[in-house]
Symmetry: none
Subunit: 541 residues, 2 copies
């Protein structure tokens, strides 16, 4: 089995994609997930370009990463100066990253007409830059920009550039199809040529492809078959223009379809679907339902003939088992499959899975999904829905009224903003009427709600709101469209998600908040008085 | 030049995609477009399956199509009956379609275990079905289902099935990778094997691939290089699970990248982008911005270094000329951008691109992006920012106050929701104080704002809010995090995007609304009194 290194550049090249931008927290969270799944390298950013990337490299050193190596990305030194004096090179070294990836020009035309230096100076820039970093004992990866176009135009010069990098101490040379226009047969042929050119240095090659010709994954695989040892790409194929090679597809094809290759450190494959969705959600980019391997529709069967065949033999219309990549089969518009889904979902809940009840839950789910609900990231709301259907849900408080006001008034040129919420609840047979403030309407509602409930339920003190997401479900109607609010809360033990949908964003937020509080209160009761609670649940059935 | 036939199955296999469905009118409109672009075959539907498809075949005969041949799709006859008595076969003949595509089993396992007939009966079913249609003088295309898996399992039997079709009069045999799991090297090898198996009958082969391994386009191209003469696929890769081969990518690669192939009748290539968008809009499916060749981002440049290089030589980061497929280059504003991005973006604005001013704009963009702004989808806010930096921005109104209230009160068991906004503005030297209602706080603010401004600016009546998006920028802080609101508005001529960022969602929404209105008022003034306005702008500089 030949080991193929997986080099993730979601945080750098992926962030060049239109509509993609990561906060520092996002970058650190993705780093942790990539490490867990067993990726070999993470390109964390471009330390010269902005303060956020520089801070990332400081913070990532404090993380307890298991196996991944973090790389800082930058260009070769500028013309006419020593590498050690170049601010970009200094930023790379100061990042503290154990691996430095240096991109250099390979195509003679780009050297003379875009960069505007002589061919000789470009070779010196590559050698100096790689040499400086290697001399400090750091691992250097050399990205050969425009390698394929460059080789086609001037193979002798392209070979010299990568040989300069190898001779100066690069551990690997990565062949970049920078404008994404190469065909698999060209990639295969020129990858072999590069391997030959580097054979005397004992330096292996990697591959970095883009999807402009809709061939990024095929191109990466063609290079691997031609002898490349590393794939650079991004999760979900994020990236400039049409994106980079999707590492999800590359990894799944190498591990499950092609023979003789080994990828990812541990048992990462079964977490590919989870990882894909985590990266979409973190970037707040809509998922692509028909994405290969991990999309929601990837194993969805619609045609009656297909469903019938899949029931007789799964392989009829499934190229792999969906579980192999952590995905699942879905049969669309089919009551039977729906019920088995609901069964699977309620397995953990310790309730009687009566067929009639399951059908009622399914009918409720279908109706709510038509309204815009999505229970995938709102398991707590789903559990409450099941308990409401079973008749075992006992609310801890009743909302009589909530009211929120936001006002912005001119005050000496500036607008002065106030946000206030009042709520009126029935809690433990008394009426609570409270007011709260906050940075925004939801924050104010949350503050008032706590104030009203903490006396009766002091355990709410541990509950924290950790995430708040809003999406317009049917955006064609503009501001009058339906709004879906997803909230994530945590306490010391758990994290749980709830959902609210309404034409009014405040109402949707309130409903999600109420579910979050109810779930917390119920879960703590179950944990503290488990036998009694089960007995109650049993008699209520 | 070898002619490659393009066989479009958007209307049949494409309609199996999750969320895709076409009305009869949609199908006829797409047929007309496909004919115009020079596609060779259109698979219009499955006449047995529903009345809509049967009606399509009646209506399509009345159309004045230039060159395309319309195909009816169906399966081989059922077991144990004569082809002429089978309702499916009758429906195919009655469709009046000049071409009939018959799908038959190729994989022995599917014959015996899914279809549950003997291997011999399946061969008879293929021969009878193809023979019946061919005897009526219609062109027959035989789709060999599960060809690649079938050949791997039992090559002798797979060969017999396609030979049976060829001998019975099929004009072409199409090799289907039905579950989408094959790799390009397997496709190439087995396509050659099929060509050999059919050589004595003089029947050519075609290719039909699916994208389950993210390789549909590469697989189709591999088959063409191995000798196949037809590609079956769909526009935009619509189709069950991960979709079919995207004909846009197949056609563009064959015409613009590979050597020696001829595709599409006329000057179709330059209409690919238009066709792609027409099909998305007709199916009411969201466009994929990063789609190869025709996506909105396919020639969009974000990184400052890239933009700089594209300005010096377009081929740096563009594999083809965007115009070749009817697409266009776009330059995006982002934190990674440099002065060259700002220059490119302000090119259209008719302002003096003074270097010092550009640097000030860039500094403002960087600062705002650090606060969570993103100008990529908010060109209108960007233009206002530039004008504010230049000192040429003259606001059309001044906000003195806005106030919004949402209240939900129990009323006979149900909560009763009211949403009201009041605003106080200075407009044309008078004070306007107005109140509005709406489905949510933003809708109410928008209503009040219109009420206050319509008297002075009646052209605001044409402005519509078409999209409203919310994103939490730093979600780790929960509800107190910063909120980014993006709004899209339109009038009869244009669509424009604006942005607002604040810890308070209401304030962020208000700011985006104000920008949208200011942009609309400015743009209408420029359109109506262009010379005067330019003169003012010039003196203000």
């Amino acid at each position: 089995m030949k080991k193929i290194e997986i080099y993730d550049t979601t945080l750098r090249d992926g962030a060049q994609g239109e509509g993609v931008s990561f906060s520092l927290q996002d970058k650190l969270a993705i780093t942790e997930r990539l490490d867990e799944i067993g990726v070999d390298y993470i390109e964390g950013g471009y330390p010269l370009s902005n303060e956020k990337d520089a801070e990332y490299f400081r913070r990532v050193q404090e993380m307890d990463l298991k196996r991944v190596k973090v790389c800082a990305f930058g260009m070769t030194r500028r013309k006419g100066m020593q590498a050690k004096d170049d601010p970009g090179m200094q930023a790379l070294l100061n990042s503290g990253a154990p691996v430095v990836t240096i991109v250099g020009k390979t195509h003679d035309f780009h050297v003379t007409d875009v960069l505007r230096v002589t061919l000789e100076e470009n070779l010196a820039m590559i050698a100096d830059s790689v040499g400086l970093v290697a001399a400090q004992g750091r691992e250097v990866i050399h990205d050969a920009e425009h390698f394929f176009d460059g080789w086609k135009a001037n193979p002798e010069y392209a070979a010299k550039t990568i040989q300069a990098a190898a001779q100066a101490g690069a551990r690997m040379v990565v062949l970049c199809d920078t404008n994404g226009g190469s065909l698999p047969e060209e990639i295969a042929e020129l990858t072999k040529a590069a391997i030959d050119a580097l054979s005397e240095y004992g330096v292996p090659v990697g591959i970095h492809t883009h999807n402009d010709g809709d061939l990024a994954v095929a191109n990466a695989l063609a290079a691997i078959d031609a002898g490349a040892q590393q794939i650079q790409g991004t999760i979900n194929g994020f990236g400039e223009r049409c994106g980079n090679a999707d590492l999800i597809s590359c990894v799944a094809n190498l591990a499950l379809k092609k023979q003789g290759y080994e990828v990812l450190g541990g048992d990462g494959l079964e977490h590919l679907t989870e990882l894909s969705r985590f990266v979409y959600d973190t970037a707040n980019v809509n998922r692509r339902n028909n994405q290969a391997f991990v999309g929601q529709s990837a194993f969805a069967h619609k045609g009656g003939m297909h469903v019938h065949a899949v029931n007789r033999a799964a392989s009829s219309y499934e190229h792999i088992s969906p579980e192999a990549v952590g995905n699942e089969r879905r049969v669309l518009v089919s009551e039977l499959s729906g019920r088995s889904n609901i069964m699977a979902l309620t397995n953990k809940m310790n309730i009687e899975q009566d067929r009639a009840v399951m059908d009622k839950v399914l009918a409720n789910v279908v109706e709510l999904e038509n309204q815009g609900f999505q229970f995938e990231a709102a398991e707590a709301s789903f559990e409450l829905l099941v308990r409401k259907t079973l008749g075992t849900f006992n609310p801890h408080f009743r909302t009589l009224k909530y009211h929120v006001e936001v006002e912005d008034v001119v005050h000496y040129q500036d607008l002065e903003l106030t946000t206030e919420a009042t709520i009126k609840l029935e809690v433990a047979e008394t009426i609570k009427h409270e007011v709260g403030e906050g940075d925004g309407p939801v924050d104010a509602l949350s503050a008032a709600l706590r104030k009203a409930l903490l006396g009766t339920y002091p355990n709410l003190d541990q509950m924290k709101l950790v995430d708040y997401k809003v999406r317009v479900v049917n955006s064609e109607a503009g501001t009058a469209a339906r709004t879906r609010v997803q909230i994530e809360c945590s306490d010391e033990q758990d994290v749980w998600g709830t959902i609210g949908v309404s034409e009014n964003i405040i109402q949707a937020s309130w409903n999600a908040l109420v579910d979050a509080v109810e779930y917390k209160l119920h879960k703590d009761e179950v944990a503290s008085i488990k036998p009694v609670d089960s007995a109650v649940a049993a008699t209520n059935q």
